[in-house]
Symmetry: C6
Subunit: 78 residues, 6 copies
């Protein structure tokens, strides 16, 4: 596979959250690399409340990792 | 996407909990950006005990992150 | 919403566990604020083993947060 | 409710694991205090592989908390 | 119950992973101690992709605990 | 079983993510060692959005462990 992850450090928490989304999608893609299949599956979860909650949960778990890596961007006060 | 997350630091644990809710909803919204679809799905999970428990679980995971970022608001005794 | 969470610090681990329950219920309530709907849903999960396990899991996740906030009440030996 | 949790500190990791089981069961019991109902639900999950896995997962989450509280009983080498 | 867990410390990460599997199985066994029932349930989950994923998840959670206990075997570079 | 895990330390976060995938698959394989069965189950989860999300979640949990072991590769800025 191509190089897609060289660092967990991001400038802002929002970029960190978006990195967590990337990690979540890559977890799917390593398991099912066929993008055509993935494309076909999209309506199945994008229109199901429970599937969306499950997707949000994976993002939350990955965001824990990214946030810890960035020491929670503690210097930044919104 | 717009800027919606500039810091994980909040003044109170309750604000932190509410930020955890925001993170959970954003996790859904990044996966399904169409607000009309999201609106239609609302009755599906808002009236299902198991879906609400699942939603509460995602909030709990995100609250772990926000709480750690704020060093658990340790100075605050209720 | 009213002020319901001013601190994660509790005197005993049991109070901390009960705070974790409060956090879990609030996670539900923020998602479905209509107490009448929540009341109607109660039999659905309170009589399902899997729903009760799921509820216990959310409590366990929130208890991790509360316990860390209290440095695990390390001074207390039962 | 009675006093059932005065400390997270245990002498051995096995006692810690058993405390994690207690926490998991209490999470259920706070949600459904009626022991008769709980008794009736037992066959439903005790004979389902997926329910048992879910129960084991809640124990695993609570064991993380108890193990951290005991600094992983690091002095003990089996 | 017999003594089965005297330490979380292992020599290698692989032994730690195998201890995580033991913890996961014990979590099931404390909930359903009847080995005959457990034996009958085996085909139900060992032939279901989702059940196997769920089992792997419990192992992953327990492995977090064991890995932290061993300070991630940081001295070992593969 | 053969030796397959001698260290959690990797050079890059991407290698760490791929190790997390290995851990997730091994968790399945310890539970169902019959590779023929595993092969037959593949279509069941590789074509289900919810199964893929669940697989991604186990990877996310294992990635937390691997990332912590590597101190989040903090020296690496992408």
């Amino acid at each position: 596979m191509d190089t897609w992850l060289t660092s967990l450090i991001t400038d802002t928490p929002q970029q960190g959250f978006e990195l967590a989304i990337t990690l979540s999608r890559r977890g799917v893609k390593y398991t099912q690399p066929d993008t055509e299949v993935l494309h076909k599956l999209r309506p199945e979860y994008a229109n199901s409340a429970d599937s969306l909650t499950a997707a949000s949960q994976v993002i939350a778990i990955n965001f824990q990792t990214v946030a810890a890596a960035n020491d929670y961007w503690k210097g930044k006060k919104g």
